[in-house]
Symmetry: C2
Subunit: 332 residues, 2 copies
DNA sequence: TTGTAGGCGTTATCAT
DNA sequence: ATGATAACGCCTACAA
């Protein structure tokens, strides 16, 4: 059917090994020979057969992104960054939803079809997943794990510092009772962000009031319900810090429903800076994470490990920033 | 490293061909033999090597979803449906963003690594893409193309009927000047939905007023700007029909900004019924498309074509429905 | 019902 | 700088 290196070889009058050399960018090919081969290949519309290459190399050009995350907008950004990197580096991005069918993860791992795996929260901290990957010797990288380790590289922002800074900002605005809507507790980022919140309070001599801290699930609906609980308190907060933008959007909706104007009567801030943040009303003050860059960087670190499995895993911390839009204001 | 069919064969005391038979579910294997083989395979933690299989079969277990769509929420649902189907049917879903790097599509096609390709708007109607796929003999399926053809199977809802029904609903509510925000004109669905709108007007003896029809880009921002244009008209519409939910959300935001209450002063309805529709305020009256089911069905039809390239392409029309929430009301 | 021979298209190894 | 030979692990075709 389609041309092989042998076809190209005979068309170019060289041995097929030379064709292989050309297509692998190996040294020791005379320039004239290279050109002859390339012309013949173009003529025959030749492409290397990936299956044959993978078989012989015991390799793969597939990177898997494991998905099981309640926030689609978070995944979207990660996926875009990863897709882009893959397409520029000769890989393909395979997406696998582990929530819908847990066996699919096991299949994926056992099949050995993936050159490497990208993990996002909460899988980045899931001991079963980490050990499965490790015992099958599949290179992987973790995005936003709770803590780093020697097993795999990671990419993150400093969640603790980011949450601390945002909380300090709210304190500087005069807020003294600040509600926190966290993510689920099995997310490392949830714990780190709560720690940052707590540190900021402590630094300002404010007491940590467990009543003001509610656990959401990174969804719009839980943002609403946690906000409802917070506003029903005898002493409700004057500011609410949601651990992602979806929950912040839910918080704004709940306030709006109760006739509480944001930011005039209540300050609400989010985390992530995904699409919804600049699209709701009022636009959201939030912590920006460079999710696309994080994903691209994660793929890069993963590639290093694929190429050299014994290399020491690197741990990158990318910069975050506070995006000040219109959903925050001074305590009134 | 990892076990091969030969290892399993000698462990089970049979020939490797028998192992192959077992793992391909072929007939003519005695039950006792099958069990012996399966036990040995379990023992050795054996899995078929995909690269070898693909090489020999000249096949692949990869299906590509080509992405280049302004509405992430639309893609998300399609992707979820496709991922799920793939994981249940021994395939992997590869996502490829053609907007970020157009060459990636060419590479994908030439490499022949994909068993098939799923196309969504606007690629479903892109002549260059269709002919590239056809000339490379890559099976593909089109989701929501403008019209069907003999080249590839397709899955759609009846956009024309759906848009007609929604428009009729608005007319029944007493609206006479109904604004339409379309998608880009290179989307077949845009044209079909506008046709449905037009038919409904005609059926009610209302005139099609080009002033009331604006072309958006399926984005929140264009929903806003088109609504602004519509509301600035000397005779503004009393209802606006946006061709997707993102634009409807933008329309609501624009109305809100101008102090125009929805639905009391202005009716706004959307299309798709993606996540944002039930999450904004007021919740959106919209046309529901079963996007996940459409994607799963598309994968199914694609598989038929992969298995038998000469089979006549099927064209499925899935049911739509009108979801009546709170963003519509009678003309006031 | 089970087994044997051969080759899919590439890369590795070793030679020239 | 280039070439010959041998795998990689599986499936197809045919034989027993």
């Amino acid at each position: 059917m389609s041309a092989t290196i042998k076809d190209v070889a005979s068309a170019a009058g060289v041995s097929f090994k030379t064709v292989s050399r050309v297509f692998n960018g190996e040294a020791n090919v005379r320039e004239a020979t290279r050109e002859k081969v390339e012309a013949a290949a173009r003529e025959l519309n030749f492409t290397l057969n990936t299956a044959a290459r993978n078989l012989r190399r015991r390799g793969s050009n597939l990177i898997a992104l494991i998905i099981s995350n309640p926030s689609r907008s978070y995944i979207d950004n990660i996926q875009i960054g990863a897709m882009d990197w893959c397409s520029r580096n000769g890989f393909h991005l395979v997406v696998e939803d582990i929530l819908a069918r847990p066996e699919s993860f096991e299949d994926l791992i056992k099949s050995g079809e993936m050159a490497g795996v990208i993990l996002i929260p909460p899988m980045s901290d899931d001991p079963d997943i980490l050990s499965a990957l490790t015992s099958h010797h599949i290179p992987f990288v973790r995005i936003a794990p709770e803590t780093d380790n020697d097993i795999a590289p990671s990419v993150r922002i400093d969640d603790r510092a980011a949450a601390r800074e945002m909380t300090q900002k709210l304190i500087a605005l005069g807020h003294r009772r600040i509600g926190l809507i966290t993510g689920p507790n099995n997310f490392g980022v949830s714990r780190n962000r709560r720690a940052g919140y707590s540190i900021a309070l402590q630094g300002a001599g404010l007491e940590y009031d467990a009543e003001l801290v509610r656990e959401g699930a990174f969804s719009y609906a839980t943002g609403q319900s946690c906000t409802a609980q917070l506003l029903d308190l005898a002493h409700p907060p004057t500011a609410i810090f949601a651990s992602n933008d979806d929950m912040a959007a839910g918080a704004i909706a709940e306030s709006y429903k109760r006739g509480i104007a944001v930011p005039h009567k209540l300050t609400i801030v989010g985390y992530d800076d995904v699409a919804v943040a600049s699209v709701i009303s009022p636009p959201l003050t939030t912590v920006r994470q460079p999710l696309k860059d994080m994903a691209a960087r994660a793929a890069e670190l993963l590639l290093e490990r694929i190429r050299d499995r014994d290399s020491a895993p690197k741990h990158d911390v990318l910069p975050h920033s506070l995006i000040l839009r219109a959903s925050h204001g001074p305590r009134t």
